[in-house]
Each structure stands twice: as C-alpha cells, then as structure tokens.
C-alpha cells in the first residue's frame, strides 16, 4: 500500500504557504462574516469532526456504519445531561461544562464499545443494516426518556464555560472592534477541536494502526495472517469513531443551543455517508472537504436561491433550497463513485500528477524544453 493511497500528503515540501493560508481561512472569518455564515461554518466544522470519525471507520477500515447519527446524539444529549442542573422535572448532573464536554465524548465512546459485540461479529452490509437499527432505537429512546432528553421538544443546551470564559452572548468581549457573541466564540472552539481531531486521525492513518486498518478493509484474513489483531482493531476503531461523533454532537448542541431528537434521524446518518464518499473514502482531508460540501450547499442555495433557476421558496410548490441541496448531493455521491473514485480529496493529487506528467513528457522534446520558462 503506497503512502499516497492511504492519505494524500496535506503539506509537502514546497507547500509551506498552505500553513499561513490555512490559519487565515480558519481564524479570520469571525471578523468578517455575518451570523448566518458563522453558523454554517460551525455546522461544517462539527460535521467535519464527525465525518473524520466515520471515515476512520467506514473509509479506512471498511466497516459500513449507518448509525453515526446515533453516536452524535449520544454526544449531544450526553453533554446536555451532564452539564444541566436538575430542574422542572428534568434530570441532570450539573457538572462543570468542560468536564461535561469530555464526559460526552467518553459516553459516546462507551456507547460505541457497548455496540462492539454486534459490530465485531458482523461483516459489511450486515453491519450497515444492524447499525441502522441504532438510529431507530436511538430515536425511540430520545423521544421516550423525557426526563433526560426533554422528549419531542428537546432540551436547552447550557453554554460552555472554560475558566470563567463563557461561550455565549454575554456582552463585553470585543476583539479588534468586532463584538464577540456566541457564534464568534464558538468558531474558535470549533477550530480548536477540529485541528487536533484532524491531526490525530492523520497520525493514526499514516502510522502502523492505519496500515493495519487498511489491510483489514482490503482483506481481513490477510490482515489476521500478518498478525493484525483484527477483532481488537475493529472494536477499537468503532470506539474511536464514536468518540469523534460524540465530540461533533456536543459541538453541534452548543451551536444549536437546543437539541431536538428529530435532527438525529436517518437523514443525518445518510448525510455523513454522503460526506465521506464525496470527500474521498479513507482520507482526512476528504472527510473535511465532504463535510464542508454537504453542510454548506443547502445554505448556499438558501441564500442565493432567488437568483438560481429551478430553486423556489419553501412552500411554494417548487423545489425548495433544502430539497435541491439533497438532490444535488445525492447525485454528487453517485457521480463521485462513477467518475472520481477517490473523491474530492483525489482531485488535487490527480491534477498534480497530470501536470507533472505533462511536464515530464515535455522534457522529451528539446524544442519545447527551450520554450519553458526557467
């Protein structure tokens, strides 16, 4: 297995300029964008964290999971439950919020571990449909465990507070003449979570565990013969991916400020699968690209729907922006598998190799070589 196949290099020699550009892209938006785009960006970043987790599981290890939304729900409701103090019929532990955030991630991991007796025994599509059961069971629990989840109407999310700094709309924080409300503050939190999440996943994929995971995906028996403890790896990846989902869920809850069970249904699980396929299976950069594509597309269509043909206002009988977005990314999933087997993440290396091939072939003709700029 070549290096390039498992994870296309993000920052290679001669591409140092990507670092400052990356920082600018991630750190400047709160100073310039309005609330609508900040919210969209927050969703995209939390989706990116969740998608990285799912990509570790489905893309790199070949374990199809249609139940990712369930683990997001565990993270979101885990945070709410651990952080809220008990009041009007609701239960909660009232823990300090950073602790609750970590607790939510751990809870999601535990939920993933609890599913591993099933996940460890099933292969391929059997696992996919078994994990689909998690969605239905999860929805049932969310609607019925009212004292924990608030039932149909959901529950308010207490804002995160780290060392007295609260991630809410409390006034008084102004940076460079930009008043920092909840969205601006959460943006930095999301960046602070996404960067290490991507870093860790990349490290895992490039190292020994990543090789083992890819081998399990490509041929389980061969992996076992070469000494990979297959069962332990599969369980481990399931737990890890659930923890990523837990972090994404808790971050989503903070961005939404209210969690409702409906959101964590099957559509969300399918969205995540769409993200990793569109972005590129088995690559961290791909998961991020896919997450951005799938989360930003509906918002783009909502914002600029008036200027687009075929997209009508919601309720007018035409194709609403949300529906148009769903149709577009459903089609994108199909198109990517047919035409870009490595997803969006594969486009850049493809262009590069095409360019270098062209350059290489030009070296052969001396006449053209002279025309090349030095």
């Amino acid at each position: 297995m070549s290096e390039r196949r498992t994870s296309p290099r993000l920052i290679g020699p001669g591409r140092w300029w990507l670092v400052p550009v990356g920082f600018a892209v991630m750190l400047l938006p709160p100073f310039y964008l309005d609330a609508f785009w900040l919210q969209t960006g927050l969703f995209a970043m939390s989706a990116a964290i969740g998608a990285i987790g799912l990509n570790l599981l489905t893309g790199s290890t070949g374990q199809l999971s249609m139940g990712h939304a369930f683990f997001l729900a565990v993270g979101a409701y885990g945070y709410v439950y651990l952080a809220s103090s008990p009041e009007d019929g609701m239960t909660g532990l009232g823990l300090p919020t950073p602790l609750a955030f970590l607790g939510a991630i751990v809870l999601a991991g535990v939920a993933g571990g609890a599913f591993s007796p099933i996940a460890g025994r099933l292969r391929g599509v059997y696992l996919g449909i078994a994990s689909l059961a998690l969605i239905f069971i999860g929805q049932h629990v969310l609607f019925n465990a009212e004292s924990v989840t608030g039932g149909f109407n959901g529950r308010n999310v207490p804002p995160l507070e780290i060392f007295g700094f609260s991630f809410d709309d409390s006034p008084g924080v102004v940076v460079l003449n930009v008043p920092f409300g909840a969205l601006e503050r959460l943006w930095f939190l999301a960046v602070a979570l996404l960067v290490p999440a991507a870093w860790i996943a990349r490290g895992i994929l490039r190292g020994r565990p990543g090789r083992a995971m890819n081998t399990i995906r490509d041929h389980e028996v061969a992996a076992a013969v070469m000494g990979v403890p297959v069962a332990r790896y599969r369980a481990g990846v399931f737990v890890l991916s659930s923890m990523y989902a837990g972090a994404a869920g808790a971050l989503l809850a903070l961005a939404f400020r209210r969690t409702v069970p409906d959101y964590f249904g099957m559509f969300l699980a399918l969205d995540y699968l769409a993200m990793i396929v569109i972005g590129g299976l088995g690559s961290v950069a791909g998961a991020v690209a896919g997450a951005v594509f799938v989360s930003v597309l509906p918002q783009l269509l909502t914002r600029f729907g008036d200027d687009l043909p075929m997209v009508a206002a919601p309720g007018s009988g035409g194709v609403s922006p949300a529906e148009a977005a769903r149709i577009l990314y459903g089609a994108a999933v199909v198109a990517v598998v047919l035409f870009l087997p490595r997803g969006l993440a594969g486009v850049w290396p493809m262009l590069r190799s095409a360019a270098s091939r062209r350059r290489a072939s030009r070296h052969l003709t001396p006449l053209e070589k002279e025309e090349q700029p030095a």
């Binding site: 489905t58 070949g62 199809l64 007796p117 099933i118 025994r121 099933l122 292969r123 391929g124 599509v125 059997y126 996919g128 449909i129 078994a130 689909l132 059961a133 239905f136 069971i137 049932h140 629990v141 609607f143 019925n144 465990a145 389980e220 028996v221 076992a224 013969v225 099957m266 399918l270 699968l273 769409a274 396929v277 299976l281 009988g317 194709v319 609403s320 529906e323 769903r326 149709i327 990314y329 459903g330 089609a331 994108a332 999933v333 199909v334 598998v337 047919l338 087997p341």
Partner: protein, 296 residues
Amino acid sequence: MSTFIELVINGVSAGAVYALIALGFVIIFKATEVVNFAHASLLLAGGFVTAVLHDDIGFLAALAAGIAAAAVLGVLVQVLVLRHARVEDQAVLAIVTIGIDIVLATELTRRIGTRVLSLGDPWQDKIVYVGGVGIAQTRIAALVVAAAIITAFLLAFRFTSWGVAMRAAAEDGETASLMGIRLSRVSLAAWAIAGGLAAVAALFLTVFPTPGLDRGTSFAAMKAFPAAILGGLDSTTGALVGGLLIGLTESLVTGYQGDLTFLGRGIGGVAPFLVMLIVLLVRPAGLFGTREMSRV
C-alpha cells in the same frame, strides 16, 4: 384470545408484504451483489404512480402502471449507474444506492408533499367476521396476493430456464457466463422483478388500516431491511421467514403495547430492529444465510 388471533392474522399478512419487499432485496443481492438501499424509493415510486393514475384509468390498470414504473426505475438504476460503477467493495456500492435513494426519495416526497394519497383499492375499509374475529378485507387480500406472487416466483425460480439462469448466475457468475448466460440480462431481470414486487408491496403497505401513501411510507418500507437481513441476505427462504417474523413481532408488540408501557410509546416500530439485533448476535449471517468461510 380473539385479539390474539386477530393480531396474528394481521401480523402474518403484514409479514407477507414485508416478505415481498425483502424478496426483491434478496434477488438483487443474489444477482448483482448490490445491497439496494434505494429499495424504499422504488416502492414509493410504484405506489405514487398507482396513486396518481387510479382516478383516470381505474385501479387495476393503475396498479399495473405502478408495477411497470417501479420495474423500469429499477432497470434504469442498474443500466445508468451501477453497471458503470467499477467498484469491488460492496460497502461502496451500497453507498451509491444510498445516493440514488436520497435523490429519488427527496423528489418523490416533494411531489407527495403533505398529502395522504389513496391508491383506490376496491377493498377500502370493509371488514370480514370469521368466528367472531374481525379481519379487514385488505389484510386478507394482502396475504392472498403476496402468497400467490411468492409461490409463483419460487416455482419460476426452480423450474423455468430463466430461474435456472438466475440461480446459476448467483451461484458462480463467471462459470454461468461461460455457459452462455448473459449476466447483464440476469441482473436487469432481477432489478425489474424487485421493482415490481416493491410496487405491489406499496399497495398493501398503504391500504386500510393505514391512511394512505404519504412521505412516511418509505419508513414503513425500511422494516423490510431487518426482514431481509435476519433471514440471511442471500436466501429467498430467509426473506420469507424474516418477513413473517418481522410482521408478527410488529403486530404483537403493537397490539400488546398497553402491557409494555415500560418500554415507552411506539415500541412497535422499533421491535423489528430489536429482533434483528438479537438474531444477528446469535447468527451473524442471518437465519438462512450462507456463513462466510475463510480458510487459510
């Protein structure tokens, strides 16, 4: 006691309908190794065509049109998309069908909107009393029709040359193709049949006591996934047994919901998935599925 009998009959009838859907699912898998998550959309499409046309051309003609539409849609999926996907991985093919499902389901639910469409069936809400047990005519019709179709299919599968070709292709595609069986034709037939079966199932999923075809119908169709899986993805017998098991479970759990309140409201809808998980824990390849053997 009469409640129990009623629930069992309703359960078997619902199970026969799930079996129809699961059978289509299994046929596609056997013929093409694709797990078709767009199955619920095929079903919705068939039902929708029937619902739209029945006022103008009568129920039976509309049903035939619905079946044809779903079959054609299935064939199109195979011809336009899956045939060109050069992917070995089953999971990736499954995700492709999810993409197709997203597109189809979004468009169909948009067209259905908030309406609840009737499919114009002749039975409506009439009820037959047999020995003090009231059974809706639709349930009897579902059972009879599903049983007839399944029997016909299984006979064809066993005795016609088409069935032999199909089984040979499923057993060993390469050899079958060397023997002169056209695999592309076999897979097209599989998709067409599966689509047709789904359209028939759509009819019986939406008649009395269900109010009609609405955007939730595809969720009802999802229960056929556990049916197909718990029976074993590559077994037609499994699809039948799985369908019945799911139908019975759902009917009984919903019927005795009053005694099961500790499990929460609406447990009937979740019970099929719970049963599936339990079966898979014991038999990871389903009840009748071929166990994957790996020898080293």
